[in-house]
C-alpha cells in the first residue's frame, strides 16, 4: 500500500512541474508589476530596477523560473511584495485559517448531509423526501455568494448573532477563549458553506441508499430475518456511505474554490482572500505559490479519496 501511494506521488511530480511552469508563466503574463504605481515618484528609475532585481524580477522568464524553483527546493517561495514577508510564513498563517474553516465546513456538511440523504433515500417518494429534494434543487440553483451575502446580512448585521469579519477576536485570551473565539468566527461561514455543499452529497447519498435498498445483499439480509433498523445499520448505511467517504478527498477541491467566496464575504483572512488580494496587487510570488498549493491540495485530495476508498472497500484494496 505504501508503495502504491509512493508511486502515485511520483506520478504527481510531472503534473506538479507542468503546473508550476504554467502558473509561473501566467503570473508573468499579468499586466503590471508589483511596484506599479507604488513607487515613490521621487525615486529614480534605478531604484525601481534595483527593487525588481532584489525581488528576482529581472532576466528572462526561464531564468526567473529557475531561480524560483531553486528557491522552492530550499523551502523558500520568495517574499510577498505586498506583505513584505516570506511567502511561506504568510501562507502558513492564512492556511491555518482556511483549513480551520474548511475542516469545520466539511464536518458540518457531512453532519447535515448524511442524515438528510439517508432519510430521503429511506423515505423515497414520501413527503420528507420531496422536501429534501426541493431543498437540494433550490440550493443548487442559488449562486453560492448570494447565500453568503444574504446570510451575513441577516445573521451578522440584522440579528447580530455572529461576527462578520476576521478569524478571531483580539480580546480572546487563554486557550479556551482563543479556541472559542476562533470557532465563533467560523460558525456562520461554516454553516452557510455547509448548507450549500450538502447538495451534491445529499443527492448522491439518496440515490445510493435507494440503490442499496433494492440490492440483492439487502434482500439476503432481509431473508436472514433482521429487523429493518439493523438492516439499515449493518448493510444499507455502511454500503451507501463508503462512496461518500471516498468523496471526502475530492470535496477538498470544492471547499477550496468556495473558500475564495466565503473569505471574501466574511473578510476572513485565509488563502482565498489572500489570492484575491494578491491578484489586485500583482503579488506574483503569492499568486504562484497559492495556485501551486491549491493544485497540490487538489492532487492530495484525489489521492486521499483513493486511499480512503481502498481502506474502506475491500474490493479495491491497494496491494
Amino acid at each position: 500500500m505504501w508503495k502504491t501511494i509512493l508511486r502515485r506521488i511520483l506520478i504527481m511530480i510531472p503534473e506538479v512541474i507542468i503546473l508550476s511552469i504554467l502558473v509561473f508563466l501566467l503570473a508573468k503574463a499579468m499586466p503590471g508589476d508589483p511596484f506599479t504605481g507604488s513607487i515613490n515618484p521621487k525615486a529614480d528609475p534605478a531604484q525601481i530596477a534595483h527593487l525588481m532585481k532584489i525581488n528576482g524580477l529581472d532576466g528572462p522568464w526561464y531564468s526567473q523560473y529557475w531561480n524560483w524553483v531553486v528557491h522552492l527546493f530550499h523551502g523558500n517561495l520568495g517574499n510577498s511584495y505586498q506583505y513584505q514577508e516570506p511567502v511561506t510564513r504568510l501562507i502558513a498563517g492564512r492556511a491555518t485559517n482556511t483549513l480551520w474553516l474548511a475542516l469545520f465546513t466539511m464536518l458540518l456538511t457531512y453532519a447535515i448531509a448524511l442524515p438528510m440523504g439517508v432519510f430521503a433515500g429511506r423515505h423515497e417518494g414520501k413527503l420528507p423526501d420531496t422536501i429534501i429534494r426541493f431543498y437540494t434543487y433550490v440550493t443548487y440553483c442559488i449562486p453560492f455568494f448570494v447565500i453568503l451575502v444574504v446570510g451575513i446580512w441577516i445573521f451578522g448585521y440584522v440579528l447580530g448573532w455572529f461576527p462578520t469579519t476576521g478569524s478571531i477576536s483580539i480580546t480572546a485570551s487563554g486557550w479556551l477563549n482563543t479556541i472559542g473565539s476562533r470557532f465563533y468566527h467560523i460558525l456562520l461561514p461554516g454553516i452557510l458553506g455547509a448548507l450549500f455543499s450538502t447538495v451534491n452529497i445529499v443527492q448522491y447519498l439518496r440515490s445510493e441508499v435507494i440503490d442499496a435498498k433494492h440490492s440483492d445483499y439487502v434482500r439476503t439480509a432481509r431473508a436472514k430475518g433482521g429487523p429493518t433498523k439493523d438492516i439499515y445499520r449493518h448493510h444499507i448505511f455502511r454500503n451507501s456511505l463508503l462512496p461518500i467517504a471516498a468523496f471526502a478527498g475530492y470535496s477538498i477541491t470544492g471547499l477550496l474554490n468556495g473558500s475564495i467566496f466565503t473569505e471574501t464575504v466574511f473578510s476572513y483572512p485565509g488563502m482565498g482572500l489572500l489570492f484575491i488580494n494578491s491578484i489586485s496587487y500583482r503579488d506574483y510570488t503569492v499568486i504562484t505559490a497559492l495556485v501551486l498549493i491549491y493544485g497540490i491540495l487538489n492532487l492530495l485530495g484525489t489521492l486521499l479519496s483513493d486511499i480512503i476508498l481502498s481502506l474502506v472497500d475491500p474490493r479495491i484494496r491497494i496491494q
Binding site: 499579468m30 499586466p31 503590471g32 508589476d33 511596484f35 506599479t36 504605481g37 507604488s38 513607487i39 515613490n40 515618484p41 521621487k42 525615486a43 529614480d44 528609475p45 531604484q47 525601481i48 527593487l51 532584489i54 517574499n79 505586498q82 506583505y83 513584505q84 514577508e85 516570506p86 510564513r89 498563517g93 492564512r94 451575513i152 446580512w153 451578522g156 448585521y157 447580530g160 462578520t164 469579519t165 476576521g166 478569524s167 478571531i168 477576536s169 483580539i170 480580546t171 473578510s267 483572512p269 482572500l273 489572500l274 488580494n277 489586485s280 496587487y281 500583482r282
Partner: protein, 605 residues
C-alpha cells in the same frame, strides 16, 4: 474596489504619493465651484458629556479600518507600504499618520518646536540639526537616542532595504548616495555632536531648500528607528522580523499589546509617552471590509472609522443620519485629476518630452473636454457632498497655497463647442474630425472601481459625445488598476489619450510628479515654464513664504491654462464618530489626537 493607494511610508510626511486610485472623486458645490465644498463637515466633534470614570478605567475604544484586504502588519513607518498599516498602528503615534515622527507642525504643516524633537536649519552651513526632547523613551522604556534618528536613514537607504521611501532628494545629504550605492558603510553627512547615545544629530546637506521647513518633505527623514531593539536584524530582513511584525516599538501615547495578523491590533496606555497622558484603557482596531463598513457602523460595532480610512460618498449617505454618530471630516490630502497623453518619456535622457503632433497636443481640445464635464452634477449625485469639483491641482487643505479663486472647469458646453469650432475641429457627420480632416477618436482610460465610479465615467463619455467628440473607453471598458498604470507608465503609449486618476499628496505639496524628469508624469508633458515654476517653489527665494505661495498660485493658474493635467475633484477625509467618544479632533493643531480621546460610557450605544 481596488483602492490601492500607494502610500508611502507613513508619516504624514513624505512627499507626494500614490495614486488614490479610486477614492471617491467628484464633488458637489455651488455652481461656480470656486469655493470648495458645499457640504461643511466639522473637523472635530465637541462632546459635552461627562467622561465616565468607569469607562476610562475599563473602556475599550473600537476603531474600524475599512479595507478590502487584511493589513500587512509592518509596524515600521519606513517599511510599511500601505495605508492600512498606517491606520492600524496609528495609536502608536501622537496623531494619525505620524508614527514615530520626530516633529509636530502648525496648520500650514510647518515644522514647529514641541514634538519629540526640534529642528534647526542652518542655511549658511547647509546643516540641519535635530535635537531630541529630554527623557524621550520608546514604549518599552528604553531611551530614544541620536542613533535612532540616524538609523532611519540607514533603514531607508540601505542597499538591501525593502523600503520604498528612498527618494532622489535624499542624495542632497552628504554621503547618502555612497551609502545607498553600498560603497560607504556609514552616512558621512550625519554627525553626532554628543555621541550616538546623545540627543542630537547634525545633517550636512549640499543645499538647503524651503521644503525642509515643512513636514512631509522628501529631503529629510522625519522618523526614529529603535536602533538598539532592531540592530541585530539585517535591514533586508527587517520587514519580516518579529521586532517589526509582532512587537514593534512606538513613541506615541499607546503601545501595542497584541496583533492578530491582518485583522486587528490592540493597544494600551504607554506610560513612557512624553506628551499628553492617554485616557483610554484599551483601543482595538479591526479591519472591516469596505463593502460591509456601513452595516458595521449601523449595527453599532465601532466607535469610529480610522481617521485616514477610505470612506465613500455612498457610505456618507448611509451614515450621515445615524443618531448616535456624528460625521467629522477635513479636506483630503489629495485630489482627482484628468491627465492627457501629450508626449513620451525618453529613457536615455530620463526626461519627458512633449510631442506637438500628438492627438491631445491641442490646448483647445483639452480645455473643451474639461468644460464639457459636468462634475458639479455628478459629484452631487454620487458623492453626496463629500467630493466636489476641484478647481486647481493643489488641494484646499493647503490654505496658503491653494488658489481659492481659480475657476477650474465648470460645465460650459457652449464654450466647449466654441473652443473646438475655433480650433478647427469641424463636425463631419456625427463626430468632429481633426483640423487636418482626419477622423478623431479619443481613448479614455479609467480604472475599474465602484459602481458609482463606473456611472461617473459613463457620464463623462456621454458629456464628451454631446460636444461631438468620439470618446471611447480604452480597451472598451474600464481597466483594472494594474493594467491601467502599466499602460500609462510605458515611456510611450497610444492606447490612452485622456485618463482619470488621483493623487494623494504629502503634507509638503511641491508637485514633483509633474517635473520633466519624473516617471510619475504619466502624460509626459514638459514645458520650460512648468519646470521653471516647480524649481522656483524650492529656490532660495522660496524661503520667503509669501513668495512661495505666489509661485504655487502661478503654477496653478498655468496648469489650468494649459490643461495638460486638469483638476477633477476634491474630497473630504471623514469618519463617523460615536457619541460616546470625546475629544475627537482632526484639527491640524491637535498634535495629541489619540491621547485627547476619551469615552463617556463603557458601553457603545
Amino acid at each position: 474596489m481596488n483602492k490601492k493607494k500607494l502610500v508611502l511610508s507613513a508619516v504624514a510626511v513624505l512627499a507626494v504619493i500614490g495614486l488614490a486610485g479610486c477614492s471617491s472623486k467628484s464633488s458637489s458645490s455651488n455652481s461656480s465651484g470656486e469655493k470648495g465644498a458645499s457640504l461643511k463637515l466639522p473637523d472635530h466633534y465637541t462632546n459635552t458629556k461627562a467622561t465616565d470614570k468607569a469607562a476610562t478605567r475599563n473602556g475599550t475604544l473600537h476603531v474600524a479600518e475599512p479595507a478590502d484586504a487584511p493589513f500587512a502588519g509592518i509596524g515600521d513607518p519606513n517599511l510599511m507600504s500601505n495605508n492600512e498599516d498606517n491606520d492600524v498602528f496609528a495609536p502608536g503615534a501622537a496623531a494619525p499618520g505620524s508614527i514615530n515622527a520626530l516633529f509636530i507642525s502648525d496648520k500650514n504643516n510647518k515644522i514647529i518646536d514641541g514634538g519629540l524633537a526640534n529642528q534647526r536649519l542652518d542655511r549658511k552651513n547647509n546643516t540641519v540639526t535635530i535635537t531630541l526632547r529630554k527623557g524621550a523613551k520608546w514604549s518599552n522604556g528604553s531611551p530614544i537616542t541620536a542613533k535612532d534618528i540616524e538609523y532611519t536613514y540607514e533603514v531607508i537607504a540601505n542597499k538591501a532595504s525593502t523600503s520604498q521611501a528612498y527618494t532622489a532628494d535624499m542624495n542632497n545629504i552628504k554621503g547618502m548616495a555612497a551609502y545607498h550605492a553600498g560603497t560607504a558603510k556609514t552616512i558621512s553627512g550625519i554627525a553626532y555632536p554628543d555621541g550616538e547615545t546623545g540627543r542630537s544629530v547634525v545633517i550636512h546637506c549640499t543645499k538647503m531648500t524651503p521644503a525642509m521647513k515643512f513636514v512631509g518633505n522628501s529631503f529629510i527623514a522625519e522618523t526614529v528607528e529603535p536602533y538598539d531593539y532592531i540592530k541585530n536584524v539585517p535591514i533586508g530582513k527587517l520587514a519580516a522580523s518579529p521586532q517589526v511584525r509582532k512587537n514593534p516599538l512606538f513613541t506615541g501615547p499607546y503601545k501595542l499589546d497584541k496583533i492578530v495578523p491582518g485583522e486587528s491590533t490592540s493597544w494600551s496606555k504607554n506610560p513612557y509617552y512624553y506628551g499628553k497622558k492617554p485616557q483610554i484603557k484599551n483601543i482595538v482596531i479591526t479591519v472591516v471590509s469596505s463593502n460591509n463598513i456601513d452595516k458595521a457602523i449601523q449595527s453599532g460595532k465601532y466607535d469610529f472609522t480610522s481617521p485616514a480610512g477610505v470612506m465613500h460618498g455612498t457610505d456618507y449617505k448611509q451614515l450621515k443620519n445615524l443618531k448616535n454618530y456624528k460625521i467629522v471630516g477635513q479636506p483630503e490630502l489629495g485630489y482627482g485629476y484628468f491627465g492627457f497623453n501629450v508626449g513620451q518619456f525618453d529613457t536615455k535622457t530620463g526626461k519627458n518630452t512633449l510631442d506637438p503632433h500628438s492627438k491631445m497636443a491641442n490646448k483647445s481640445l483639452r480645455k473643451a473636454m474639461m468644460y464639457a464635464v459636468n462634475n458639479d452634477a455628478v459629484t452631487k449625485k454620487f458623492s453626496y457632498g463629500i467630493s466636489w469639483r476641484a478647481n486647481t491641482l493643489i488641494p484646499p487643505i493647503f490654505d496658503n497655497y491653494w488658489d481659492s479663486s481659480a475657476k477650474g472647469f465648470p460645465l460650459d458646453i457652449k464654450k466647449a463647442n466654441k473652443l473646438l469650432d475655433d480650433a478647427g475641429y469641424k463636425k463631419k457627420g456625427k463626430w468632429r474630425v481633426q483640423p487636418n480632416g482626419k477622423p478623431l477618436t479619443i481613448y479614455f482610460g479609467a480604472m475599474t472601481g465602484t459602481s458609482a465610479q463606473a456611472a461617473t465615467y459613463q457620464d463623462y463619455l456621454q458629456q464628451w459625445h454631446k460636444i461631438g467628440l468620439n470618446v471611447k473607453f480604452a480597451t472598451g471598458k474600464t481597466m483594472e488598476m494594474n493594467s491601467f498604470y502599466s499602460t500609462l507608465e510605458a515611456p510611450k503609449q497610444n492606447k490612452i489619450d485622456i485618463y482619470d486618476a488621483a493623487w494623494s499628496v504629502s503634507s509638503e505639496p511641491t508637485p514633483t510628479m509633474y517635473t520633466e524628469t519624473s516617471v510619475q508624469n504619466l502624460g509626459h508633458f514638459a514645458t520650460a515654464k512648468n519646470t521653471q515654476l516647480i524649481n522656483d517653489m524650492n529656490s532660495d527665494k522660496a524661503w520667503n513664504d509669501s513668495y512661495r505661495a505666489k509661485i504655487f498660485k502661478e503654477w496653478q493658474a498655468y496648469m489650468n491654462e494649459e490643461a495638460y493635467v486638469a483638476p477633477d475633484a476634491f474630497s473630504y477625509t471623514w469618519a463617523p464618530v460615536n457619541t460616546r467618544v470625546k475629544g475627537y479632533s482632526l484639527k491640524s493643531s491637535n498634535v495629541d489626537f489619540w491621547s485627547s480621546l476619551s469615552l463617556t460610557s463603557s458601553s457603545m450605544k
